[in-house]
Symmetry: C2
Subunit: 462 residues, 2 copies
């Protein structure tokens, strides 16, 4: 007869304890396959528990396949195949990569928060909870909530002069998510051209999606059309409004040439990545390629990461009608990856005008910050030994240093002085020395810039 | 001299209007490349506007590459390459696929809401906004917020008896997102085995990710190990806790055989998709394969879609330590795709005990609903001409109909009577007639079931 000591008060029910004892006996082979287990009544009497306890334990064993019930003859131990080892809880060794935090990061990390009217955002969230109630948990169209797509379409028209139907807008959980979706839409077997220099993350995501990536050099106007042509790529991923890190704003001539490239062969597309066009400081933002395209070859992609918060995870892509149909036919089984609540909150934030008010303040803030930093450079010992390359846009410029040192040597020396810097060469496939430092001021504490400039001046002295 | 009629009051600034006029003249070729534009002062006087207006218009043209400024000689029209057609706003033709809504959907759509304590959820959201403030917009670890990963680990231990370190948990924007990520982690070039019958969406997502999918038939205990072996697949995607749509709960013997299959070759993995194990009605949920695995070959995947709401878009995967390292090395450049706010809200909902209280109510609700429907079947004219196949779990069972009609003919006839039904054959690659209807009662209005059963009885009469 099976005999176990069952103890109450371990947070486990008696039946669970009994089940575990028998299970371990079966797994260890102490109860062989074919063995008949005692009747519920007998075992209950033996252990001094109720028959319900035994019944529940047997039911669990049967449910998991450790035992089976044969009508009118009882419960029998099953053959469980290869012996299963006892389960041990092993704590995995997982050591975080530790990075020492620099005193000042000129390349864009850390420092100040990006200004954002959190109280207005919180008020909007609360209003959505109160007014839309249970609807915030309802499913939406695979392209995203109609409310948000309409708000984005209105915003694009007011701020970018871009006319697009809300039907053409597809909302996704960040640019990264949408890049992956676009590969599924346009084809994984194709070659994708990216800008060189450019964001390494874009290349990283394409490679993780097993896409052949061609790095196309830029000239002063953006991606070289000749090099693009020679690469055999069919999809060109570009950021014509404001290229990172060079800051190039693509002139209309090059835009026209790129469209001509796309039109020259069926199946060629341009992914227009408009990641920070809303941060143009002066004048209207440059009109997107999407609005110049007459043959449905441009996909316009943008995000709220730069202007609200990366953790919001909302980006969108505007698709030409034919590609939209394609997406609907082949990929509309996907659920929209952004929670309904965030979509409603953002829609309301845009419709109320709060988003555009925030953008205006943000642009002014960055304009002022940039002007201050440019004057700090003029007053610094670097003055006369450096040049600023910038285009009145975004949150960074290039600081070209006159130096005989290599980029790598400067980076190392700067790091020793607590300064984290990146060079144009860090974003290029060919790591040639450039002397051009990325000066990203979005989160920079300007009070510490003079000291940083003194350090740079000392490092570049002959 | 350029002369345009600029009109105020169109919601456009004067400079923008002037810029557009000149731009259109350049694009139409009326202003040829090399043409010198009038000086700002002259044009301003001619048009009766301020020089600032002209200056802004010129600046915009220069920024976009329509014109260029040459020092001390003025502003000149640039060559813009191939003529760009005028931009027209065309409304894309996008007609929604219309589906007539059936009177009663037995296959799982429409009907009642899944019960959820929305007021508790809303209270939790408000508490997170008030207490965590700006932190709800801060970035989190690529695996998700530590708070949520800890809450999930605690929940898995309490409810599933599964011991896993929060370090091993990776949060993603729904199962669909995680399937795509796992393909990137495990390899796109491999063969993936899925259950047949099974969820068509799983196959759809693997195919959209260009993965070779093998459909492996089930026997009474789940995926056939022999067929899996013969398929040459290296990754087996299974749902051992409760298979959809057959309802099979995989016995321990088959679990052990599948582990042995994985251990027999390096590079073999099991994706354990535990989509609704929390809805087991009686007894403890069956322990997952993940906790039996001693050689780091099982990935445990689960979601909050079934128990909270699909629109929440939060799922997670528990990875063995080696795969976690792999993910960190190769794919940690991805930002966690779930907004920080939803992560904090869910963490608090779990930690407070509200989630487990909800699960208990949900299980009771489904248990009662199932019992009612089973009694409705007994009292219906179908009684004696059908069989119920079910395993005390999930929100559906199979209703096997004794009929000479084909599944397709029954579906058509049912649809004519306003009844939407699906058969086991709808989830199989080989569409053999089964007579087995999926009876999904999660959202079903039970008041209408007797009528539905009368219709089915009439349709299956000889």
């Amino acid at each position: 007869m099976l005999t176990y000591t069952l103890e109450k008060g371990h947070g486990k029910s008696l039946y669970a304890e009994l089940y575990e004892h028998i299970r371990e006996d079966i797994r260890a082979g102490r109860l062989a396959a074919g063995t008949r287990l005692p009747s519920k009544r007998t075992l209950a009497a033996n252990l001094g528990v109720s028959t319900v306890t035994v019944e529940n334990a047997y039911a669990q064993l049967i449910a998991e396949g450790y035992a089976e019930s044969k009508e009118r003859s009882g419960v029998f131990v099953c053959a469980i195949g290869a012996a299963l080892p006892p389960v041990e809880a092993s704590a995995p060794v997982y050591s975080e990569l530790r990075r020492d935090k620099p005193l000042l990061d000129l390349s864009g990390g850390g420092g100040e928060d990006v200004p954002f009217p959190f109280s207005v955002w919180a008020k909007t969230m609360r209003a959505v909870i109160s007014e839309q109630g249970k609807d915030i948990l309802k499913p939406v169209d695979f392209r995203g909530a109609a409310e948000l797509r309409e708000a984005i379409a209105g915003h694009l028209y007011r701020v970018r002069g871009l006319r697009v139907s809300p039907e053409q807008i597809v909302v996704g959980a960040g640019n990264e998510y949408l890049y992956g979706l676009l590969v599924q839409l346009l084809g994984r077997e194709r070659r994708y051209a990216v800008e060189d220099p450019g964001y390494p993350k874009i290349t990283g995501i394409y490679k993780a999606n097993d896409v052949a990536v061609k790095h196309i050099p830029l000239d002063g106007e953006g991606m070289s059309v000749q090099a693009l042509q020679n690469s055999g790529a069919e999809i060109a991923h570009i950021s014509p409004a404001h290229h990172f890190p060079t800051g190039i704003v693509m002139p209309i001539r090059r835009r026209s040439e790129l469209l001509a490239w796309a039109y020259a062969q069926p199946g060629r597309y341009i992914i227009e990545d408009d990641y920070d066009s809303e941060l143009r400081h002066t004048g209207k933002p440059v009109p997107p390629l999407f609005s110049l395209d007459t043959q449905e070859r441009v996909l316009y992609l943008s995000t709220f990461s730069q202007t609200i918060a990366p953790s919001l995870r909302i980006a969108y892509v505007c698709l030409p009608p034919k590609l939209l149909m394609c997406l609907r036919e082949r990929l509309s089984f996907y659920t929209c990856a952004v929670p309904t609540f965030e979509q409603y909150t953002l829609a309301r934030f845009i419709d109320s005008g709060d988003y555009e008010r925030h953008l205006n303040r943000l642009r002014k803030r960055y304009r002022d910050k940039r002007a201050l930093i440019l004057s700090q450079i003029e007053e610094s010992p670097l003055h006369g030994r450096c040049g600023v390359v910038e285009e009145n846009a975004g949150t960074h410029f290039l600081l070209h240093l006159q130096t005989s040192k290599s980029d790598a040597a400067l980076k190392r020396a700067a790091a020793e002085r607590g300064l984290s810097v990146r060079f144009l060469s860090d974003y290029q496939t060919r790591r040639e020395d450039t002397g051009s430092m990325i000066f990203n001021y979005a989160c920079l504490d300007t009070a510490r810039v003079p000291e940083a400039l003194r350090i740079l001046a000392a490092l570049t002295e002959k």
